[in-house]
Amino acid sequence: MYLYNEFDQTLVNERVEQFRDQTQRFLSGGLTEEQFRPLRLMNGLYIQTHAPMLRINIPYGLLSSKQIRMLAQISRQYDKDYVHFTTRQNVQLNWPALEQVPNILADLASVQMHSIQSSGNCIRNITSDPLAGVCADEIEDPRPYCEIIRQWSTLHPEFSYLPRKFKIAISGSPKDRAITQMHDIGLLMRKDAAGNTGFEVLVGGGLGRTPIVGQTIAEFIAEADILSYLEAILRVYNRHGRRDNKYKARIKILVKATGLETFKAQVEAEWADCKSDALNLDKKAIQQVKDFFVEQDYSRSDDSKLDNDLANSGAFRQWFKQNTREHKQAGYRIVSLSLKSPHRAPGDVTFDQLNVIANLADQYNFGEIRTTHDQNLIFAHIKTEDLFSLWQQLEENQLATVNIGTITDMICCPGLDFCSLANASSIDIAKGITDRFTDNAIDIGDVKLKMSGCMNGCAHHSIGEIGILGVDKKGEQWYQFTLGGSDSNECQLGERLGRAIAKEEVVNTVDSILDVYKQHRNGDEKFATTLKRIGIQPFKEKVYGAH
């Protein structure tokens, strides 16, 4: 993974001191709440229902064991012994004290981590494919480009006071695992006819109140030009994006109002002006970053021990089938650590678990940990002969719930329990779903359930196969269902099932939906396929006919 040089370290250290000073001035009255708010947000600090919330960046979801140990230590010293992994591959602390945040940032800086631009109306953490570098279908490893764009966007003087937040995702495979279509800018790595590396650029996608699927603004931008092209898009957005209404301020609204063709013409005119040498990426500069992402030192290995282990243990077999995936290197597997055990809220990991994860990563996985947008972790390089022993240790630590991709592997925001924006709770509903379906999650099959506590849609409900959105109706919590959304290759927004459901009926409703699916599916047919074949009506009848 990328390692800071002295330059990067100095910048992050100076940022910590800058924020320490800003916090002190706020606490002593030198900055008003209005003046401090954008400054703290640009350091990931929210003021929440119970306490501040600090969001820490995990650039493109990549962590070292050393960094995980630091997160553990921070959770013990400054928080309540756990952390929460988010849908944008980041991690959050739910209980830090404002006065302590500068110290937390200093501790993070000591392991090359920061919270710069993890919130605020600026360019956020760059997200990517959690299988980058290890999947067989990759065109090019996106991570060096993620790092280059991370550096370009970090403390960008021109783009720190945008109309609204700005999210960029990059995918290096034909199969998009980074939901690039639902980002302000999505970059898909491409090769042109001559074999040159570049990007297809999508613009104007986004979730939230007005979910919109991004559109292609450029079929191919050469790698040398990608920063100047991004700069052109950002400048057009910064100048013309709406600032009068924060719900209409994202670039998706601007692109829609302007029209893609006109917007594209504006970007290209701007691009012609900003193709300066300073933004040109030469091969040498790219290679320097690529050198940090060389292939791991894989050893030759065959699957004979694995075959034996699989034959001997049914439980291991189930876990292997559901929670591990093919690796491009023979003799290796990609392992998902489920953060959706019945014992805690989705995405939460305890102090003890963090330390176990760090040790296992050192022992089996070259010290590397990845985060995913569905709030799990990945060990990307596990030798098949180590799988059984790894599984046993994960199992002991409640990290091996056999549910990856199933109904209980749901995405869920913190909801009303922690978030000041939320209209409804999500954690207790998640618990209800887990309790009801844990025993037959595998039989139900792969169904993506995503649940957000408000329209902001942090849990991506609009692209869940089953999407649940918490709404407030005269002080009561209600839940709006959508069916048939998709976050895979071709993103699709779910269709509304019908009127909102009362809180106590939410789990029953999920059950009814799954009943219809089970009743109508042909063999191994996926939920989406069944839904497409039979339409939404049978689901409506079952849910609303019964209640």
């Binding site: 100076e14 403390l155 021109e158 783009f159 400048r235």
Partner: protein
């Protein structure tokens, strides 16, 4: 008002032409509207400044950009980032080399970013804020982005 120019505290020789001080002089900064209405008579001026808003379209005045010794760009509230892109565009695309001044809601915490995109003068509300802004201009010794040239 307290001025920083080229990273130093400086006295301000310019004056805004307003209803309260309508006397045109060689040190006047006029509004875009005033300039557009009085272009002919203003050709007499040896030196002249122009005041625009952060969201002003540069096409409104760039044709005669070289005519101005100072462009003052007004930031209505510090979270409105349009002035940054306007400043950068004037410097890089239109190669403006005169003084470019940030006015309005200019706070010490934004001073450094403003100077990185091409502003070379900043108008702070008080001497105290100016002192703080001068300190904050030195908050970072490294940058991932190149600075916009101011001349």
């Amino acid at each position: 008002m307290a001025l920083i120019k080229n990273n130093n505290a400086q006295a301000d020789n310019w004056q805004y032409l307003t209803e309260d001080s309508p006397e045109l002089s060689q040190n006047s900064i006029v509004s875009l509207e005033y300039w557009q209405q009085n272009k002919t008579s203003l050709t007499q001026q040896e030196t002249l400044g122009l005041r625009v808003l952060g969201d002003t379209d540069p096409s409104e005045f760039v044709n005669e950009l070289a005519r101005f010794d100072i462009i003052a760009i007004e930031i209505p509230i510090f979270t409105d980032g349009r002035a940054y892109s306007l400043a950068k565009t004037l410097r890089e695309k239109y190669e403006y080399t005169g003084e470019m001044r940030a006015i309005g809601d200019v706070q010490p915490d934004q001073a450094l970013y403003l100077t990185r995109v091409g502003f070379n003068s900043l108008e702070l509300a008080s001497d105290e804020l100016r002192e703080l802004a001068l300190e904050k201009l030195a908050a970072f010794s490294v940058f991932y982005q190149t600075a916009t040239k101011t001349n």
